[in-house]
């Protein structure tokens, strides 16, 4: 007997037009399929590379390594205040333009112009080549022909995205109905940032799989609740309040009785003192009215919504007015870099700062458990001895993700623009 209502068609999975057969992970185990995904998915979709607060002033910049599409990009605020993106390569001899100490590490800063370390060629904030060392030694060099190579760059709600495909639809359209429901969320008030990075030994989709279902939470994370509460949670299992999909994007809405808990004895001593934990600081800051997207079921026990914006960007909106982002950057068929970033309204006093520290560190402890479990999965599915895995209705978004990925690959290889699985609306 479900605790929360399901669609009239009986299951979320069938409601979204997905089949219920066992799912193959052959899309996650070979270098060949990874190459197909790089071409079909990552070279044609909007990739979130950061936020506008990272480049607050004219000349502020940061670089983003995008192994998955074979480039590094510079994100920079130009003289007019517009955010621009360029391939991070000098037009003269191909040296990486902006880097510090280690060529493959990301960097950031503020500059008046972009200067190559190699031969001193210079570019202005709009990407135009402005200085060539010993220009007279070159042969009919027209500096106008050698500006930095731009990358399509658009901003949604302060999130900076790039797209390697010149013909892709605009970002605003791409974000779809689920994106529209978050427009107006006070992302710009939540500027206190804690960012974590981990190198994970699994295919990028497997970690998304872990974070778009909470079916695992009462088991894998059993010890994170106090004894009796933990047994109770395992007895209940997990059900989402609701799911939704729109084209390639998806979301799951979850309950969250922990912020604050009904009974404080069910949480750890430090949570009682700091009034904070996995679900965030119990005393939510006032950020004004929220847009209609979060808590679509309008449930009183709502705790968190996890949005997956295809392919690799997640936004988690928590009831106590903070948010997390997850990014999964593939580096091979069985490795990726995971970034988890927490954003809070800046604390004003030492107590609030400690409350946020506890929320962030709790997230880290959970994620460490998740990350290593993935490596254990990857190592076994690569053997190929077992394939075809039954996914339950609470794992509907994994099924959706793998289905969308296959659909992108198929469409691309048959010369079509991506037309992800036809999906009915949950609303």
């Amino acid at each position: 007997m479900p605790f929360f209502p399901k669609p009239a068609d009986g299951s979320w999975t069938e409601h979204f037009g997905l089949d219920t057969a066992d799912v193959s992970y052959d899309d996650s185990v070979t270098p060949e399929h990874y190459e197909r995904e790089r071409d079909a998915i990552f070279r044609h979709t909007w990739l979130n590379v950061g936020r506008v607060e990272q480049i607050p002033r004219k000349g502020s910049y940061f670089t983003k390594e995008l192994d998955v599409v074979g480039t590094s990009v510079i994100l920079i605020r130009d003289g007019a205040g517009t955010v621009r993106a360029f391939h991070n390569i000098c037009r003269h001899r191909g040296n990486k333009l902006m880097w510090q100490d280690y060529p493959r590490e990301e960097t950031s800063g503020t500059c008046r112009q972009l200067t190559c370390k190699y031969h001193g060629w210079r570019y202005d904030l709009e990407g135009a080549l402005t200085f060539v060392q010993q220009e007279s030694e070159f042969f009919d060099l027209d500096m106008a022909d050698y500006g930095l190579v731009p990358v399509r760059c658009e901003v949604w709600e302060g999130f900076i995205f790039v797209n390697l495909d010149a013909d892709a639809p605009p970002l605003q359209d791409y974000m779809g109905r689920l994106g529209a429901g978050l427009e107006g969320y006070p992302f710009d008030k939540m500027t206190q940032v804690h960012k974590y990075r981990a190198e994970i030994g699994s295919n990028w989709k497997l970690f998304i799989d872990a974070f778009v279902e909470f079916y695992h939470a009462p088991v894998l994370h059993a010890e994170q609740a106090e004894g009796e509460e933990s047994r109770k949670l395992q007895g209940y299992g997990y059900e989402a309040l609701s799911y939704d999909v729109d084209g390639p994007h998806a979301m799951v809405s979850s309950w969250g009785g922990m912020s604050p808990p009904k009974d404080e004895s069910m949480v750890k001593p430090i949570e009682r003192v700091l009034r904070s934990g996995l679900f965030g600081v119990w005393d939510a800051p006032d950020v004004g009215e929220l847009p209609p997207g979060p808590n679509p079921a309008r449930h009183h026990a709502w705790g968190v919504d996890s949005f997956l914006f295809f392919p690799n960007f997640m936004v988690l909106i928590w009831k106590p007015n903070w948010y997390l982002t997850y990014h999964y950057w593939p580096t091979s068929h069985n490795t990726h870099v995971f970034e988890g970033t927490a954003y809070f309204v800046p604390p004003t006093n030492a107590y609030e700062r400690l409350q946020q520290e506890l929320a962030v560190v709790t997230f880290k402890e959970f994620a460490l458990q998740d990350g290593n479990t993935l490596e254990a999965t990857q190592s076994m599915i690569e053997g190929g001895y077992v394939d075809g895995f039954p996914l339950c209705d609470q794992e509907v978004l994994l099924r959706h993700l793998h289905t969308v990925c296959r659909s992108y690959v198929d469409d691309h290889e048959q010369g079509r623009r991506p037309t992800p699985v036809k999906i009915s609306s949950a609303s």
């Binding site: 960012k195 981990a198 010890e223 430090i270 004003t348 006093n349 400690l354 458990q369 990350g371 290593n372």
Partner: protein
């Protein structure tokens, strides 16, 4: 010169836990034994628990060096609370060699 504000002078023996970054606080946890973590927790937890009103009065804007170190010390308590209250071991269970590193942290 004392590390912490005068009313926290009793925490001086734990001054080495006043560490200004989560990455380094976590590294010190991994370098410690459960006995050391338990001793730290037993001494510092009650002091934080009874100091909530004081901590609320400490504005981050213009925070003194002593209060900043106290904040770092209590941040270490947050890091140490997991092995003591949850895992009963220093590392996250089954976390193997995996790491999860802070790459951006707030200035304070």
């Amino acid at each position: 010169m004392s590390t912490f504000p005068p009313q926290f002078a009793d925490l001086e023996p734990f001054a080495e836990w006043a560490i200004p970054s989560e990455r380094n606080r976590y590294a010190k946890r991994l370098d410690s034994s459960m006995e050391e973590l338990q001793a730290f927790y037993d001494a510092v937890f009650p002091r934080m628990a009874e100091s909530v009103e004081y901590l609320k009065s400490v504005e981050l804007d213009g925070i003194s060096d002593e209060d900043e170190r106290l904040l770092w010390l209590f941040s270490s308590l947050v890091t140490v609370s997991f092995p003591v209250e949850v895992w009963h071991q220093v590392r996250v269970p089954d976390s193997g060699a995996s790491s999860f590193d802070a790459v951006v942290e707030p200035a304070i």
